[in-house]
Amino acid sequence: MTEMVFGTVRASAGEPVIPRWWRTIDKWTLFGVLLLFGIGLLLALAASVPLAEKNGLPPFYYVIRQVFFGGVALAVMLLLSMMSPDQVRRLGVIGFLAAFAALVFLPFLGTDFGKGAIRWYSLGFASFQPSEFLKPGFVVLTGWLMAAAQDVGGPPGRLYSFILTVVIVVMLAVQPDFGQACLILFSWGVIYFVAGAPFMLLTVIASLAVAGGVAAYNASEHFARRIDGFLSADIDPRTQIGYATNAIQEGGFFGVGVGEGTVKWQLPDAHTDFIIAVAAEEYGLVLVLGIIALYCAVTVRSLFRLMKERDPFTRLAGTGLACAFGVQAMINMGVAVRLLPAKGMTLPFVSYGGSSVIASGIALGMLLALTRSRPQGEIGDIFLKRRR
């Protein structure tokens, strides 16, 4: 009767959220990220103990903190990965505005923790680095602007995003935080490249980047010293790179054994910038190659999935997020093996650091949301071919 009077219970429009999420998510990337986070905890057990001892804290204090922040980061990541591209875009742009405001007020309210560059807000129990949170928001906004610029009669998004990039890069360079500045510039470049930058322009931009690097070398002593250290023929064993190189050599193929490493006692940044050296020393080349393979897989697989994507915004924003993630990992590891000059850059998910791991969670959550498999209207391709 009820059915006759009120009609049948309306079936929900789509399938339930979680099963659909599970069906469409890029499971390989998801597992890769979870694995990286697990490795990060494993290495934190080794690498953060000296820092805790130095600060007079219980030995695994920083591991527990990392578990907490990592948990938050993973939750954020899963939540974000359930969003639709439109939701990602809105959230990304709002997040960008918030982070940008935080960056603007940094010189007045921030602290440098005695490291010579004002990059952090001190929140008492933890610190917060706005430039880490700026990156995913910036990539999403740039992707949106570029995608809009492609439309006939669309806004001049390329110009807007370029101006925005220059403003942010200058702000970061003033801090000085050349590493993040490079990363922002690189993200913009990659998005522009995929959005169809003319090759002539790419060449010009590349030469401008070189000129900028030379100018920075001449203007900033901090920058020049690092480059000089990189270019000098032999390694000074008392520098960070020297210790890192020595640690990798000591580790060999299978490592010196868990907890037997020494580099973590010598390097002040062993738990962040040089965590790969700790991994190489204690667990050997095997683990390092595993880590490299994981980063490579996450990045390349995401790019591969984005190749099939038809929506310009999704494609561009996804490309930016995946490349920023991959390049950050690559720069961090490249520094440790002296392929690149020294830069303070964390290894996403593996390095210790609340800001870093949560920001990485946000970025990867957005990336996962964008790389979910969606109906792409492949039939259109068939029509397209037939029309020709």
Partner: protein, 593 residues
């Protein structure tokens, strides 16, 4: 505003003719164009994403390969690859004008410990304390068993100590070669040489840097590998320097002086052959500078250069020489010497009253303040200052020694006539003995400016002309008379025809005024007077000669005999032949009477 043409124009125009809305057609057209653009962009993006993917694989591959390469190489000991930062240990020798060594290097060893390599920290610490009693055993044990990986124990050890440490036999006690600076002559020429100490230190070598004297001035040159280890040759003569120091030390003791300085300089080349300041020190173990009190009490204080005093009557020859040069007087001109001379509220007195008038020759020989004052007034303040400047008495002597800049003359702030008067007999203006040496050389060498140097040159300085050749000859004769029958009669050295001038100046109190019984006595001499070769300045600080019934403090009784003894001993070493007094000088003497 730019007008965008409606597209496709043909269809829109025909639609308008039919009265339909052309917007629909246009919108449809835009949709189609958008789709075409997107398809094109997607195809291009596909290719570019592939390129990105390949680049990432290649880059990660490079990082991985590099990791593998590094992991496959054997780690080297960090000390071995100490490149880019090596310390150059070779420091050139310093030699005297005849090539005899004044400063050289000696290889010794430093001792350091690497506690991680030690087998018996407690035992080693105990034995180390037996060798080096000033080490603290408790601290050593704490260091050896603590977290330290490296610590210096001794910067320099002797071969015997090194052998004893060897015999402890602990592999954690290690030696590094250490080149140290050695001054084989001990305190000889200490103030000229200065000293050296370690700069940057590494296990394998340490930098030696000059801290004072020529070691500091020529630090860059001595360490410059481009010189191929060529020594630095000074103008000093080791034998002469030694003799000067010996005699000066003896004189200082006899005259109960608290300090003494001597400068011996070639009047033509400006080469400083000997430069002594007493008390002195051993540059091998250079004492610490005084942190409080009068710096001139430290043995580090170089009286010959830094010690600026009112040099008294030695200045009179400048006033007289200038007056001769200007043609205001000749040696026979009679000068008013009525003592005391009253000038404003000042009274100028002579040591004795010499009567109403003296000839210029006698003014110098008897050292009359009043006579010199009258001559100075003839010259006037402006010309006097210009003359002092041309003699180099107004600025520090540019000698090649780190302390030379500190020897800054103390000049009167204003220059009224009373200053002209007092400076003419050396009061109210303070200069160092080195200033005096340069000025006397200029006055007697024929009248050209001489600037002292510590480097061997053997080249006659062709400086600017200050006085004429003829005036210079007259000046020599006047100075000779001071020794023959004036205040410096004890300065006569048979055969060497010494000429000179004495100066006794009351020392100034730190807060103004003069001491009654503290003087600086100076004997400025040139020899031989017929053709001057060398100038010698001897200065004694607070001398008292007590052989007589009452203490005598004048230069004639204190500095002059010391100077004469130095000339007697040094002249043969300098290769001067004793000669008979020429008759012409005596003729001048007779004419003066």
């Amino acid at each position: 505003m730019t007008r965008i043409p409606l597209r496709p124009l043909a269809r829109i125009l025909s639609a308008r003719n039919r009265g339909e809305n052309p917007d629909v057609i246009e919108r449809e057209n835009i949709r189609l164009r958008n789709e075409a653009v997107r398809d094109k962009a997607r195809l291009r993006a596909e290719g570019r994403l592939l390129v990105l993917g390949v680049l990432f694989v290649a880059a990660f591959g490079a990082v991985g390969a590099r990791m593998g390469l590094l992991a496959a190489t054997v780690p080297v000991e960090p000390e071995v690859s100490m490149g880019g930062n090596s310390i150059l240990a070779q420091r050139a020798d310093i030699v005297d004008r005849q090539g005899r060594v004044l400063a050289t290097n000696l290889v010794t060893h430093s001792l350091y410990a690497q506690p991680r390599l030690m087998v018996d920290p407690q035992g080693s610490a105990k034995k180390l304390v037996q060798i080096f009693p000033d080490l603290d055993e408790k601290r050593l044990v704490a260091d050896f068993t603590g977290a330290k990986k490296f610590l210096w124990l001794r910067k320099r050890i002797s071969p015997e100590q090194m052998q004893m440490v060897h015999e402890i036999g602990d592999p954690g006690l290690l030696f590094g070669p250490r080149e140290m600076r050695l001054y084989p002559n001990g305190s000889l020429a200490a103030h000229v040489l200065g000293g050296a100490s370690f700069g940057r230190e590494g296990v394998h070598s340490a930098e030696v840097i000059g801290t004072a004297g020529v070691e500091k001035t020529f630090d860059g040159w001595l360490r410059d590998p481009a010189n191929n280890g060529a020594p630095l040759q000074l103008s000093l003569d080791l034998t002469v320097q030694s003799t000067v120091e010996d005699v000066l030390a003896g004189g200082m003791k006899l005259m109960n002086a608290k300090g003494a300085a001597a400068v011996l300089m070639d009047v033509h080349t400006g080469e400083v052959v000997a430069l002594a300041s007493l008390p002195d020190f051993d540059p091998n173990t250079r004492p610490q500078p005084l942190v409080k009190g009068d710096p001139s009490d430290s043995p580090l204080f170089n009286r010959a250069i830094q010690g600026v005093y009112e040099l008294g009557s030695t200045f009179k020859i400048f006033a007289v020489g200038q007056a001769l040069e200007l043609g205001l007087v000749n040696p026979q001109t009679m000068i008013d010497t009525k003592s005391p001379m009253i000038w404003g509220r000042h009274r100028i007195r002579d040591f004795h009253n010499y009567g109403a008038q003296l000839s210029v020759t006698e003014v110098i020989a008897k050292s009359s303040n009043v006579g010199t004052a009258h001559i100075a007034l003839m010259i006037g303040a402006d010309r006097q200052q210009a003359f002092f400047k041309s003699l180099g008495l107004m600025e520090p002597v540019p000698l090649e020694i780190a302390e030379a800049a500190a020897g800054k003359p103390i000049l009167p702030k204003r220059w009224p006539d009373i200053t002209t008067i007092t400076t003419s007999y050396g009061h109210g203006i303070s200069d160092s003995p080195l200033h005096l040496a340069a000025a006397y050389a200029t006055m007697t060498n024929g009248g050209t400016r001489v600037v002292p140097t510590l480097l061997k040159t053997d080249k006659v300085q062709k400086g600017e002309r200050v006085i004429s050749e003829a005036t210079s000859v007259k000046v020599r004769d006047l100075l000779r008379q001071v020794v023959v029958r004036g205040t410096a009669s004890m300065g006569e050295v048979p055969g060497y025809s010494v000429a000179g001038k004495t100066g006794t100046a009351d020392k100034t109190k730190p807060n103004g005024g003069y001491y009654e019984d503290k003087v600086v006595t100076t004997f400025a001499s040139v020899f031989p007077s017929t053709d001057p070769k060398y100038v010698l300045i001897v200065s004694l600080d607070e001398p008292v000669e007590t052989s007589g019934t009452e203490p005598r403090r004048t230069a004639g009784w204190t500095s002059v005999p010391v100077g004469a003894e130095i000339i007697r001993r040094v002249a043969p070493l300098l290769g001067l032949r004793p000669s008979v007094e020429p008759v012409a000088t005596a003729a001048v003497t007779l004419a003066g009477n």
